[in-house]
């Protein structure tokens, strides 16, 4: 078994962002069921947390701006880590993320096994 980072990117900055706040509201139950399903397979390592959508960005010369990045449409909306044997399995699990249908993207990265 390997550990995988699952990062959900979604548009937090556009005015007509998808998923919209209403869609996010509707996704609460499917999202909980998705995470519960991963946990039921004993494959959840770190559960997702709720993050504020506002943040700070530190740049060169210690310039601090309010985040998330305005110029990028896809900010980090959430992350979790899971156990899976390979990318194929991790991808199958990630496909269950219920907000993909509204334009969210899910990035999957395997942890480099430590020697």
């Amino acid at each position: 078994m390997n550990e995988f980072l699952i990062v959900i990117h979604r548009d937090l900055t556009s005015k007509d962002a998808k998923p919209s706040p209403e869609q996010m509201q509707a996704a609460i139950k499917p999202f909980q069921d998705w995470i519960g399903g991963i946990a039921a397979q004993n494959k959840l390592v770190t559960p997702p947390k709720r993050w504020e959508s506002e943040g700070r960005v530190v740049g060169q010369n210690n310039v601090v701006t309010n985040g998330p990045y305005a110029e990028i449409k896809e900010s980090i909306g959430g992350m979790l880590t899971i156990r899976a044997s390979d990318y194929d399995e991790a991808v199958e699990i990630a496909k269950g993320c219920p907000i993909i249908q509204w334009g969210a993207k899910v990035e999957i990265r395997m942890a480099v096994p430590t020697e």
């Binding site: 069921d33 519960g36 946990a39 039921a40 397979q41």
Partner: protein
């Protein structure tokens, strides 16, 4: 209370109290001396009360006799006197006579100290439960053997080994500090819940022993609630959980000691008083910012006290199971979660989720699949139930699975 019932009753309620006080006084090295003195006290009571009749205040009589026997023992046994009495005198700051304090407060303090001693991680949780039954609940070796469906020899060895381990690790029987409580309360709750489960889910046909185990677990938990420092939200949640479970005790076992499944239970047999008690303590548990697994399990148990199937009920149960699994994985929670998912999201989705669980050694897994496939693909359902039958160990489980197979065959 009838005279002949009084002594066994007092044995049940007072033995453990006096043992706890004497252990607290003597220390872990001399547990057996404490047990001997208390056993001897009850023997004297049997003899004396048979001849002279009941004393006016039987409990006070027992306390006085236990005190005298302890003092005599200390006087008689000079080695013990030198080694131990010096310590006790030092500790109690008494120079002349050792005081044996059987006040309500000291009994409660002693029992609390004993709970934290018995639930020390130097001994296995299995041994903790056996020792708790013996020292904290006054269960005899035979009763413990009955509860565990094993023989006296095994229990005797387990308890003695546990005592030896506590002694060789020089575990002190002392008032738990705030740090002890923070570090070990969780272990204590695990042991209390194990004790309860031993009674609730035991395959033993001895219903009386099973009820006793559950009652004892609740009593120990209540002891923690009564003590200000251990009265945490998690402790209240566990007490609520056990209250909700106990409310179905009469309904879930038939006259032959066999389990009746939840959906087949006669809910008029559910104990409303215990349900209300559970609600009260679940409400008390709803403070602070720590959500323990006992909160979630108590929530699930609460919704099960609502017999009527509603979407609201199963949706709440599903989300509580989701939370529980995120907090701590267990196969049984995974299976129950999938059952709830079938109720809210439909059997088809639940089958897909169930097949991912991969619990191929577990007969409940195949029973769940059998259940989900029933009315969708009855042939598959029967095949799953048959696999479950091969994996099941106890006769009670086999009987339940056979009933399911019969039900399906009548519709095939």
């Amino acid at each position: 209370m009838e005279e002949r019932e009084l002594l066994p009753h007092l044995f049940r309620t007072e033995y453990r109290k006096i043992v706890a006080v004497l252990c607290y006084l003597f220390g872990i090295e001399h547990i057996e001396i404490a047990e001997d003195i208390v056993s001897d006290t009850f023997l004297s009571a049997t003899e004396s009360w048979a001849i002279k009749g009941l004393p006016e205040n039987p409990t006070a009589w027992l306390y006085t006799v236990a005190k005298n026997k302890t003092k005599n023992y200390l006087k008689r046994n000079s080695l013990f006197e030198q080694k131990l009495a010096a310590e006790i005198k030092y500790n109690t700051e008494k120079t002349e006579e050792i005081e044996i304090d059987l006040s309500t407060k000291n009994i409660s303090d002693s029992q609390l100290a004993m709970i934290f001693t018995v639930c020390n991680p130097v001994i296995s949780s299995e041994s903790q439960v056996a020792l708790a039954l013996n020292l904290l609940c006054g269960f005899g070796i035979q009763e413990i053997a009955d509860a565990y469906l094993t023989n006296k020899e095994v229990v005797y060895k387990r308890i003695n080994r546990a005592k030896e381990k506590l002694k060789s690790a020089s575990i002190k029987i002392e008032e738990p500090t705030l740090a002890d409580i923070n570090n070990r309360l969780e272990t204590v709750l695990t042991t209390v819940y194990l004790l309860f489960s031993e009674g609730y889910y035991s395959t033993s046909q001895n219903t009386i022993v099973r009820k006793d185990l559950c009652a004892e677990a609740m009593r120990l938990c209540y002891l923690l609630i009564e003590n200000e420092r251990t009265n945490t939200p998690a402790v209240n949640a566990l007490f609520a959980l056990m209250s909700f479970h106990s409310s179905r005790f009469e309904a879930r076992i038939n006259e032959n000691g066999e389990t009746i499944l939840y959906q087949d239970q006669d809910e008029t047999l559910w104990n409303q008083e215990l349900i209300n008690q559970g609600r009260y303590f679940l409400n008390n548990a709803s403070t602070g910012n720590q959500l323990s697994k006992y909160h979630l399990e108590a929530g699930i148990a609460y919704w099960h006290t609502q017999k009527e199937d509603s979407n609201d009920k199963w949706e709440n149960i599903l989300q509580l199971y989701n939370h529980l699994l995120i907090l701590e994985y267990s196969p049984i929670a995974a299976l129950n979660r999938t059952f709830a998912l079938a109720k809210t999201n439909g059997k088809k989705e639940a089958i897909i989720e169930a097949e991912k669980l991969n619990l191929k050694e577990n007969h409940f897994y195949y029973s769940l699949l059998g259940n989900l496939y029933t009315d969708i693909d009855n042939k598959k359902a029967r095949a799953h139930f048959e696999t479950a039958l091969q994996l099941a160990g106890s006769n009670a489980d086999k009987a339940t699975i056979n009933r399911n197979i019969e039900r399906i065959e009548s519709s095939l």
